[in-house]
Assembly symmetry: C3
Homo-oligomer: 277 residues x 3
Amino acid sequence: MSSENREHKAWREAFDFPVPGRAEKPRTKGLTMVIDKGLGLTETDDLLDLASDYVDYIKLTFGTSAFYSTRLLQQKITLVRSYGVDIFPGGTFLEIAVLQNRMEGYMERARELGFTYIEISDGTIEMSPEIRRNAIRAALRADLKVICEVGKKDPRENMPHKRMQEQIAADLEHGAYKVIVEGRESGKGVVIYDAEGKIRADELESLVKGVPNPESLIWEAPLKNQQEELIMRFGPNVSLGNIHPAEVLALEALRVGLRGDTLKACIRGLFRPVLRE
Amino acid sequence: MSSENREHKAWREAFDFPVPGRAEKPRTKGLTMVIDKGLGLTETDDLLDLASDYVDYIKLTFGTSAFYSTRLLQQKITLVRSYGVDIFPGGTFLEIAVLQNRMEGYMERARELGFTYIEISDGTIEMSPEIRRNAIRAALRADLKVICEVGKKDPRENMPHKRMQEQIAADLEHGAYKVIVEGRESGKGVVIYDAEGKIRADELESLVKGVPNPESLIWEAPLKNQQEELIMRFGPNVSLGNIHPAEVLALEALRVGLRGDTLKACIRGLFRPVLRE
Amino acid sequence: MSSENREHKAWREAFDFPVPGRAEKPRTKGLTMVIDKGLGLTETDDLLDLASDYVDYIKLTFGTSAFYSTRLLQQKITLVRSYGVDIFPGGTFLEIAVLQNRMEGYMERARELGFTYIEISDGTIEMSPEIRRNAIRAALRADLKVICEVGKKDPRENMPHKRMQEQIAADLEHGAYKVIVEGRESGKGVVIYDAEGKIRADELESLVKGVPNPESLIWEAPLKNQQEELIMRFGPNVSLGNIHPAEVLALEALRVGLRGDTLKACIRGLFRPVLRE
C-alpha cells in the first residue's frame, strides 16, 4: 500500500514518536518477518487488518505448510499478498528437496501455489557451495525471490564466522535479496545466542565486522531482550525475524521508543542510532 | 450486563464451586485486567463472547495503540464497551505526553477515541507529585476515569515502600479509582517479584502493611504462580492485571478452586479466605 | 473423515516425508490431544479448518468449561465434533463431582451437553480403586467413552511406579480407552519430568517396563523437547497430550521429520522407529 493510501493512525497528531526515522513500507530495511506455525485464515486476516504496515514477511515455518490442503494454502497466500506482505515456506522444505533430488519440482510447486519468496538454508543438512548457488539460480529462474539463511541449528556444528561471512557474500552475489542469521524458534544456544538466549556481544561483533552491509541481514530474534539489544545496536531499522504474530505491535513499539525499555534509553541518551539519524 | 440477563452457565446445577464468594460483575473487587498486545477485532470478539463475565479491563499495552488506524481503534473500543468491559491505553503514552508537554491534548484525544479510562504512571520517566496530581485532575475533567500505577520498570530505580505507599494514598485522594502495582509484562525482577518471577513475601507484606485498603490495589501478575499466591494470600477477589488473554478462564478457575492448585488448598484447609467468607 | 474425502495436501507430489508410517485418522495410535484453556468459537473453527487431520481430542482443561454459557458450550461441542474430533472436560471436574457426591449427575450433564468422552483422574484428590472403577462404569453406562489419567499433580505425593502400573492395568480392564500420564500444563516437576521439564529417562523406562502395551498411554508433553524425545523413543505414532493449539502443526512436523531436530536424527540414522517400520 502506498503511503498515500495508508489509513490515518489514531494518535498521529497527539504526539511524536520518541525515536524518529522508522522506515515505512515499502521498505528495504527495518523488515519484520513473522514466524507462522499454523495461523488459520481468520486469524491471519485479523492480524494483517491490524498490523500489515508492520509485517514484511510471513514464514510458514519448518515443514508446516505440508499439512495445509491445497485449497487452504492458496487462500492463505492470496490473503497475505492482498495485504502487501510476502510469504514463503520454511527452509527445511528446501533441504528435504535437495536430499531427495527434487529441487526443481519444489521451486515449480512453490510458484504454482503462489509463494513469492523461497528460503534457502542448510541449517540441518550439508550443502556444497555449488548446490547452494544452483538452488538460488533455480529459484530465480522460477521467478521466485530468494532469502538465504546462514548458521547451523545444532550448536555442535557451529560454523566459523569466516565461513558464514563468505557464505553471506556469495549468497548476495548470486542473487539473494537478504540473508537470515539463524536464531531458531527458541532463540537459544544458536549462533549469536547463548543457552539462555542472551546475545554474546563478541560473537555478534565478530560476525558483523566481516559483512560489508549489515542491512543485508535479517536477525532471527524471537525473544524480547534480543529484539531490544539489536535495536539498540543497529537502530530502529534493523531487520528482525522469527517474530511471534502476537508480538508484532510490541516489537514496533520497541523500535520507535513506545515501550519502557527503548523509551528509557532515549531519555538517557543511550540510544545512539537516534542521534545518528 | 446485569446478573438477571447473564446467560445460564453450562454446569450450574451440576456442582458447587469449591471456593464460594466470588464477586460478580459489575464488581468493585476481584477485577481482572487483560494485557492486549494487539488482538484483532475478531479475536477480541471471540474472547469476550466467551469470557466477558471474567474481564473488567482491557489495556492496550505499551504504546501499541499508536499503530491502530483510527477506524480500527474506534471499532475495537466500541466492541469492547458493548460487552461491558472498560478499555484504556498503556501508561507509556501518558509518560510521553508529559515529556512532550501535551498532556491535555492526549486526554482529549483519548476521550474522542472512546477510551473510558486513562492509566497514569511514571514507570519510565521522572514525575513530580504536582504533575501526577495535575494529570489525574486533567483526566477527570476530560470525563475519563483514572487508574494510577506505582513502581519503576527498571530494578535499578527501586522505590522505597514508604514512597510507594504515599503515592498510592495521594493517587486515591486525588481521584484515582484503583492503583496498579507494576509487574511488567514479564513479571520478573520488578517490585514484589524476584528475577525468576517468584513473589518476595517480605516485600509484599511490607508494601501492603502501609496501604489502608488493599482492595484499592490491582496487582500485575502475568505468571501463574503469582496469580495463585496472590489468590491464596488475599482470596478469590484480589484484583489482578497483565493477564494474558488466553489465560482469562484459567485464572478464573484458580480463583474459584476449579484448578488443581487452589482445589488442593481448599481440601487441605489452607485456603484461609474461604474460611473467612 | 475417511481418507477418500480428505482434501488434497498442498505438497503431496513434491516430496516424501522423511519419516514414513505416520497413522492417519481415524487412528488408534499417534493421537494428539490439544489443551484448550478457552478458545473462542471462531478460533476453534479456524484451528480445525486448518488442522483437524492432526487433532484427535480437545480437552477443555481444568474447570474452564464451568465458565461457558450453555449456549456457547453446546455450539463449540457441535463444531468440534463436526470436524471428527472428540472433546471432553478436564479431570478436575470429575474430582469435584466425587468430592460432592454428585458423580452420576455429572455424567448425565456431560452427555446432555454433547461431550463424547470423560476424563477420570485423581491428580488432586484421594480416590479409592472402588470409586475409580465405579466412575468408569458410570461413564460407560451414560454412553461416554473414558480416558483415565494416572499421576499426582503435586510432586510431594509422588506415586510409586508399581501403583501407577496397577492403576493403568485396572483402568484398561474396566473399560478405559486410553490412559493419560500426568504432565500438567507446565510439563515441569511431575511424574517423568524434572523441575526444568527434562525427561528423567530412568523414570520413563521404569514406568513403561511394567505396561504391557505402551500404545494404551497418552503422554502429556507440553514442551517441545518432551515431544521430540518421546517421538525419538516411541516413534511418530506415540500419543501425546496437553499440546498447545498453536503447536499442532509444529508437533506434526516433528512426528514426520519435517522439522530440523527429527530430520537431523533421520539423516544420522538415530531415528530407530523409522528403521523398524
